[in-house]
């Protein structure tokens, strides 16, 4: 019976983790009990096998990868550099609000329509369609632009895009590149867009956004509250 009370202490006994009193008690028992002595030696052997397991050596690029990750983290926390897609979007917004050059408006309007088309998966109003005043024109917009109601048909879509705060993830999405430039194979592409070469400057990016699986989830994120249009 005493063996059963001793055995649970044998590992701690070997580890030197027993009080002096308990240690003396176990030692006295081991001196008189061959079965527990054998048990204690087996535990010692198990410990030996465990300790003798070779320690894993980190792969050669482990440290370099870590310092690289640390460097990246340091940069992102200090500078928050603008991603490629964020830069594109900012540029687009600035283009749209840099109203002194109207020749770009036609291309921009086409871009907005196509963006809406891609995001909703169904054709919406085109710039030449009758405009429904779903969105009020922002007061800061210069009068010449306000005269182009077609531009604002899809303002909601662009406003929602402002909520996209995963630009890096979007930019990092790997897409099959086969169709990036094969516009001729696109089905249901609005004919108006095909007439507008300026649109296609951003086509690869739009394709990437279109194929982003969780775009709807991203769009549901709360807005950051910044302005939708820069004055």
């Amino acid at each position: 019976m005493i063996c059963e009370t001793i055995k649970p202490h044998l590992v701690a006994y070997r580890d030197g983790e027993l009080s002096e009193q308990d240690r003396s008690r176990v030692t006295a028992h081991l001196n008189a009990c061959p079965a527990c002595t054998r048990e204690e030696k087996q535990l010692g052997r198990v410990e030996e096998m465990l300790i003798n397991l070779e320690r894993i050596t980190p792969s050669p690029d482990f440290a370099a990868t870590f310092w690289h990750r640390l460097e990246q983290e340091g940069q992102s926390s200090q500078e928050q550099p603008e991603s490629r897609l964020a830069r594109w979007w900012r540029g687009l917004r600035e283009d749209l609000t840099s109203w002194q050059w109207t020749p770009a408006l036609a291309g921009a309007a086409s871009l907005l329509v196509f963006l809406s088309y891609m995001l909703t998966g169904r054709p919406t109003t085109t710039p030449t369609s009758p405009v429904q005043p779903a969105v009020q024109v922002v007061a800061a917009v210069p009068p010449p632009v306000a005269k182009e109601p077609g531009l604002f048909v899809n303002y909601n879509v662009l406003a929602e895009l402002d909520k996209l705060n995963h630009f890096d993830e979007i930019a990092a999405v790997q897409l099959p590149g086969a169709h990036d430039t094969e516009l001729a194979n696109e089905e249901n592409l609005p004919p108006e867009l095909l007439k507008d070469p300026s649109f296609f400057v951003h086509y690869p990016i739009l394709k990437k956004m279109e194929e982003l699986k969780d775009l709807e989830t991203v769009l549901d994120l709360p807005a950051k509250g910044d302005e939708h249009i820069r004055g």
């Binding site: 649970p8 044998l10 590992v11 701690a12 580890d15 983790e17 054998r38 030696k41 087996q42 535990l43 052997r45 198990v46 410990e47 096998m49 465990l50 300790i51 003798n52 397991l53 070779e54 320690r55 894993i56 050596t57 980190p58 792969s59 482990f62 440290a63 990868t65 870590f66 990750r69 640390l70 983290e73």
Partner: protein
């Protein structure tokens, strides 16, 4: 035991390194990384079972140490604090459910050239072929058993055996008591003993 009770965190040279890092000495952090990263990788590997994930986890652990630079307060030995982070990361990894280790991945690796598991085996180049095979079998079996026992037992065993931590230090890592750790280590060792019984019986004790 009395010496342990008198120990204060500030006596730990690695705590001093962490405090120097807190003052902006990047070299101190580099020293800690070089000293402890292999141990954290090894712990994570034994806990999770794959080296690639173990290395990722180890990197995340040190990234967290880096992020905690300003908030760090020495309340224990640095190694205790570090392995507490490592243990939590490993637990999260397991509980995320993304991670599945098939038991067959711990089978002897003879048929898989360059497999990382070959690193786990004792260097038995001077031993006979039978001994080498026995060592390989033992290593694979130990890893399987480690993965089967409860996580707290696994951590207690790994830290006490492979990192040489006292029960008190293991208890700090687990947020437990020395008494509980004693029980965890005992039960884990019993599981190993049962799993290796035939091998142990063949030894001349």
């Amino acid at each position: 035991m009395e010496q342990k009770e008198r120990f204060t965190p500030h006596d730990d040279p690695d705590v001093q390194l962490m405090l120097r890092f807190q003052q902006g000495e990047m070299e101190a952090f580099q020293q800690l990384f070089h000293k402890y990263s292999p141990s954290v990788v090894n712990f994570a590997f034994r806990f999770l079972g794959t080296q690639a994930r173990a290395e990722e986890i180890a990197q995340e652990v040190f990234l967290q140490v880096y992020r905690w630079q300003k908030r760090y307060e020495p309340k224990a030995k640095f190694s205790t604090w570090l392995f507490k982070i490592a243990h939590n990361h490993c637990l999260n990894e397991v509980r995320k459910g993304e991670y599945r280790v098939s038991l067959e991945s711990f089978d002897p690796p003879e048929d898989r050239e360059g497999d990382e598991r070959e690193r786990n085996l004792p260097d038995t180049t001077s031993a006979k072929g039978e001994d080498i095979l026995a060592a390989k079998e033992a290593a694979a079996r130990i890893q399987r058993i480690l993965h089967r026992i409860p996580e707290s037992q696994r951590t207690a065993l790994l830290l006490s055996r492979m990192e040489g931590m006292s029960y008190q230090e293991v208890a700090e890592v687990l947020g437990s008591t020395e008494k509980a750790v004693k029980s965890l280590v005992f039960r884990a060792t019993q599981s190993l003993k049962e799993g290796l019984r035939d091998m142990l019986d063949s030894y001349d004790l």
